[in-house]
Amino acid sequence: MSTSAPPPIAEPVESGPPTGRRSPTALLRRVWRDPGGRIGIVLMVLMILLALLGVSGLLPHGPIDQAPQDRLQGPSGRYWFGTDQFGRDIAARTFAGIFTSLRVSVVSVLAAAVIGTFLGVLAGFLGGWVDQVIGRLIDILFAFPAILLALALVSALGSGWVNTAIAITVVYAPIFARVARGPTLSVAGSEYIRAGRVLGIPTSRLLLRHVLPNVAAPIVVQVTLALSWAILTESALSFLGLGTQAPDASLGLMVSDARNLVSTAWWTLVFPAAAIVLLVIGLNLLGDGLRSALDPRQTSGTRPRRQRLTGTRGRTS
């Protein structure tokens, strides 16, 4: 779990002309056609179902129910994934942990996407000193290693899932700002925006109706990639004891608790760790599939080269 690695910036997606009506279902269908995208969709549907199962209360054991007599039991029909040192059901805790991870990730990434896109579009569209101020602000946030910044924020704000989400939002908003700014620059300089001005269309309408739809594609892709990194960040914070607090279930916390038990009770580590891995893989495949589906070059019959994700938080754009 190398969460100290920096979060990625999505490969730029060219937002080209749409091929007819693009509804969310049509988009999903195109992702489904991509083998990787299909695995991503299946994995994510599975994970979401497990997460809902984890908090539904329908499982035979609750995530924080202790059964001291059943401590450290291996996987069985009664305890599917075994139990931990307090006799808690690993399966229930893993599912609840998936829910925790998804909740923090979705909330924080959506907040980061909204705030970051707003700032990026504003900077790219208005230019001048607005661009300068927002650009420097982004540079400052980028100067910190992501996990350090998140750690510092959570230490300052206190633990709990809301504060964890706030910390991740602050870390990821600059990435969205940067992803949104580039395409906005090219759209803002395009003739159809100039035409809109000549026709007397108000700036707010130009931004909402003409700029935003034309820069949406790379942001949608960035959302799925940021989700997978947010899951890693949340797990790392919980692992370090700053995120979700015991006895609540969290994947990072479970991995942390399992450190000393791994030689005697492998199941305490393997299942939550596998959940993290599957979440990250699922979201990455989904993001990759989305990028191919949104890529206008794909419609011309040529399959885009699958580009490797850059692991460096470079100063691109």
Partner: protein, 342 residues
């Protein structure tokens, strides 16, 4: 109806100093008239267009619309008055593809303009008006459901014209509006423009690098070189008996369809490139490329003075032509014969 007075636009650039895109341009266009604005790329034609539709503000000078200054009262205001003024002069862009939002259907693009300016009251009226606009530019009503990329270049340019007409403007600035089109389509759109001008009483400012095209549609022609008007007059005098040596060169670059005539025509084209607008030559801007240049041309910039019979409105800025009182086309021919005899 439109009067441009001493319009100046300078762009400050990094490293290259100030670019003089427009340097004291004046002209006027009457209601229902078509003024052709001709010149090489970089002469300031498009800058003039952007200033006319208030995409940019001039460094100095005035644009008067029916005697009222368009630029007075600060930056284009968001008030109803400012918006109404901004509607009077509309622009048709060169690239009909780039000037339409690729994610917007044709009907929505037209409807948006109508809604923003409150030109229609309800959905039914909106649909009716969109149909009218499409019919006006000779497109079937079904075009409203199409995306720009589903249309041909000519159809897209018709949409560009329809959208400009949606705000019921009095003046249409056509910035190389036909240059991106095929020759056959170009003729169709040209005829469309002529019809619209007749039916709606529009005033055109037709900007192009192609003198041959401009002479077909313009009543008067203004020739620009490096940010200045060097000759202005009625379309026949400017294109048939060009007074300025630069106009003569432009005119001789227009091919004639008859091969016999074409072969017999003297080539009066000039050599070289347009100089850097950041470092315009002193004196007459054209003198480094002018075959008729005299010593005075490199020191004094000639003014735009009346030329030929009084009352024709023909004006030219050239020392040589003014002192000889003969159009440059004559002078160039004489000059050529002199030199070929050596």
């Amino acid at each position: 109806m439109i009067e441009v007075r001493d319009l100046v636009k300078h762009y400050r650039t990094r490293g290259r100093g100030t670019v003089h895109a427009l340097d004291g341009v004046s002209f006027s266009v009457g209601r229902g008239e078509t003024l052709g604005l001709v010149g090489e790329s970089g002469c300031g034609k498009s800058t003039a267009a952007r200033l006319l539709v208030q995409l940019e503000r001039p460094t100095s000078g005035q644009i008067l619309l029916d005697g009222r200054d368009l630029l007075a009262g600060g930056h284009r205001s968001r008030s109803g008055r400012g918006r109404r003024r901004s509607r009077t002069i509309q622009l048709v862009f060169q690239d009909p593809y780039a000037s339409l939002d690729p994610r917007q259907r044709v009907g929505d693009a037209l409807g948006e303009v109508l809604t923003v300016h409150r030109l229609v009251s309800d959905a039914a009226g909106r649909r009716r008006r969109i149909g009218e606009l499409l019919e006006m530019v000779g497109l079937p009503a079904g075009t409203a459901d199409r995306y720009p990329h589903q249309l041909s270049g000519g159809q897209r340019q018709r949409i560009g014209i329809a959208r400009a007409l949606a705000v019921e403007p009095a003046v249409l600035v056509l910035d190389e509006a036909l240059s991106a089109l095929d020759v056959s389509v170009r003729a169709e759109v040209m005829n469309l423009l002529a019809r619209l001008r007749r039916e709606l009483g529009l005033t055109y400012i037709f900007i192009s690098h192609d003198l041959g095209m401009v002479r077909h549609i313009a009543d008067r022609i203004a020739v620009m070189y490096l940010g200045q008007v060097v000759e202005i007059g009625s379309w026949d005098t400017v294109s048939d008996a060009p007074a300025h040596p630069y106009t003569a060169a432009l005119n001789s670059a227009v091919p004639v369809a008859d091969p016999v005539v074409e072969a017999a025509r003297p080539a009066l084209t000039v050599r070289g490139e347009v100089p850097d607008a950041a470092r315009p030559p002193g004196g007459c801007r054209f003198h480094p490329r002018c075959p008729l240049a005299q010593p005075i041309c490199s020191s004094v910039n000639p003014a735009l003075e009346p030329f030929g019979p009084a009352g024709t409105g023909h004006r030219v800025s050239c020392h040589v032509v003014e002192s000889a009182q003969r159009p440059a086309s004559d002078l160039l021919l004489a000059h050529r014969q002199e030199h070929s005899g050596e």
